[in-house]
Amino acid sequence: MNQGAMESELQAHVPEMSVEEVELLVSQRQTASDSTVTGQLSPIATTRPPPSPSGDEPVFAADGGTLSHPADAVYELELHMREQSRHTGSADPDSVVVHNFVADVWRLIAENLERMAPPQARIAFDLLRQFRIDGQDYLSPDFWRGIGMLLAYQLKEQTEFIRRRLRGEYQTDPYGMDREVIEIVRPFLLFMYRTWWRIRAEGVEHVPGDGRALLVSNHSGVLPWDGAMIATAVYEEHPSARIVRNLFLHWFSTLPIIAPTLASMGQVPAIPENAVRLLEDDELVCVFPEGIKGIGKLFRDRYRLARFGRGGFVQTALRTGAPLQPVAVVGAEEIYPLLGNAEPIARLFGLPFFPITPFFPWFGVLGVIPLPTRWSITFCPPIPTTEYGPEAADDPLTVFMLTEQVRGVIQQTIDAKLQERTSIF
């Protein structure tokens, strides 16, 4: 969607809004529309009434008739909430957080509504409206009948889905990626992306819309959340919603449950042959050259890049002519502040390392909940490799030069982002 066209359209409809407000609206609408399945701009932006200055009771249009899909009305709510947070923002910083959180919840609901069939979404929307407009409806049997119908419908959908899976009527790609599993996990990842870590992705436009590319990122945070978030950033923010094939340490393939889940989500063991083959198939591959040294970095060593392996990722890129694209993730170092590594325990269980954080292992499973730090993911401009030719892959000088170049770009970007950052939360 052309931003300029949308802006003028908006201004035509809401002339009383300031330019600043329009820009805000445009940016919000864009993120919202990017996340829809169809990717189309829903009519909300044009039919949206001007924000009421009082900002109290706008929201569910009583008839809902002017809106094409009930989800749009919920997006209205989200926008309204963001407006409110903007108005009260300077006066009361705490309420901004609350407002933004509520806005995120509305967005989550809206996105779920979008996934439903229109009649189903209509029922759910009506229920929501009842719920909101008059709490007394709890007592009405019709309210509960409605909820019952909704649940029955959902249940039917779900059982049909499971039946279809049990009949084997689904597709996986040659590496075992299963789009349906990705769709199941996506809302959770989106929640982590938008609400938990409030990630700001910059430079997503540097990621090519098609064709091969090798993303190279710093690695941190004990569990490989950064890989999942890079994939989410590209899938949600990039116009062509590409799937990032993360390369994970092949040791993870030995873990039950985790191994098939990773494979279903399109991730591939980090073996050079796999990377070459994926790039030859024009996939978008993401690699973490620091590997275990990066992910098991102690808290005091945070944001200091470890050695970038032996430059194997550069060889892969040179062999396939794929551009190298440095990615800098800031914020993931603090999600599990790693105080120490209990090596004897790690050796006992055959783990690469055993993390000791302020919360793990003391709080058990609860210690696995990551801290809600604020992240930024910066996609740097790609470094082309075709000029060196595939034979340069066997020339250690070129390989090390490129490795250092990529490492330097990532370190600089991290340093710049750390300067900008005011708080880790």
Binding site: L166, G168, Y170, P174, G176, A259, A263, P272, E273, N274
Partner: protein, 332 residues
């Protein structure tokens, strides 16, 4: 005019190879087997005899055979009655055949191997090409036979470069009325799997394999080639496509439940428990480019076809013990 000899013609798959060659080649075609073949063999001249090495040389010389195909592996399409006999057939007979071919001046030998020879490990690439070393940790049963034949014959080919040896590493057969270990596994009401693991597997339709043997006989390429249907699927998916449901077992229990974990390393696909944990998926691009071979049957189609022929499998299950009984009776 080349003369070709198909070894083990009394086996179903060898007959399929002979049929393909009958249609696509014009030279003389000889089928050598121990019994009369039970399936049509095209225009092959059938010779039923049990020949030792010297007699083989005489036959090859007298008929001026230029191409020898050995598409048979005991334990694959035929049930194994005795492990000793299977090893004898698979390893020693193949060594004998190779020796005879070298002495008689045969120009091309096409042998069968399996994609399982690479072994299943988490260090394997997602698509294993022909240069990968073979697994050396399987010391029992069919897999050991395959690995021995594979490594011995490649060593032999290095010493006899005039032989033109070609190894076709086939994925597990499914379809074509052949009861392979994999179809027997998929015919169980609840095929056991390992809880928490879902490796990718490959299958191959025997007709596609027969075509590859034929193309290999006509080509000039040498070396090893992987053969499999395109697009591997996950094991649980494969079981569901075949109309069954997987039954995942926790690992310690699995070693008790799965019969292959015991002594029988011949009949229970995939012969070693490793293959339930990690996939062993072969890269078939070499066969496609150098033999100009393409699998006509997709993995999904092959497995789906099993659902409709489950009754055939019931029949196959009842025939297998009968065959085993009869061959025990006829063995000396």
């Amino acid at each position: 005019m080349t003369t070709m000899l198909v070894y083990g013609i009394d086996h179903l798959f060898a007959a399929a190879v002979a049929r393909w060659l009958s249609v696509h080649t014009t030279g003389r075609l000889i089928g050598l087997g121990e019994r009369m073949p039970g399936a049509p063999t095209g225009r092959a001249e059938i010779l039923t005899a049990t020949l030792n090495g010297q007699q083989l040389v005489e036959l090859l010389r007298a008929t001026q055979v230029q191409v020898v195909l050995q598409p048979v592996f005991m334990g694959e399409e035929t049930p194994v009655t005795s492990r000793e006999l299977a090893c004898q057939q698979n390893v020693l007979r193949t060594m004998e055949l190779l020796g005879a071919c070298a002495v008689a001046g045969v120009r091309r030998v096409i042998l069968r191997s399996s994609t399982l020879v690479y072994g299943a490990s988490y260090r394997q690439p997602a698509f294993i090409n022909e240069q990968q070393p073979l697994a050396d940790r399987y010391r029992h049963g069919l897999l050991r036979d395959y690995i021995e034949v594979d490594s011995f014959s490649r060593e032999f080919a290095r010493k006899h470069p005039q032989l033109g040896l070609l190894l076709l590493r086939c994925a597990s057969f499914v379809g074509g009325g052949i009861a392979s270990p994999l179809t027997r596994y998929l015919a169980r009401p609840y095929p056991p799997t390992l809880l928490g693991f879902d490796p990718r597997i490959q299958v191959l339709h025997p007709d596609d394999a027969a075509q590859a043997f034929g193309l290999a006989a006509m080509s000039t390429a040498t070396g090893s080639f992987n053969l499999a249907a395109t697009a591997p699927v996950k094991l649980a998916h494969a079981i569901r496509l075949a109309g069954r449901q997987p039954m995942p077992f926790f690992e310690p229990l699995f070693n008790v439940i799965w019969p292959g974990a015991g002594h029988d390393h011949y009949s229970h696909w995939p012969f070693e428990p490793d293959f339930f944990r990690y996939g062993c998926v072969a890269d078939i691009r070499r066969a496609e480019s150098e033999l100009s071979w393409t699998a006509e049957y997709s993995t999904e189609a092959v497995l789906r076809a099993l659902t409709s022929t489950q009754s055939d499998h019931a029949e196959a299950r009842s025939i297998n013990p009968l065959e085993a009984f009869l061959s025990r009776r006829s063995a000396p």
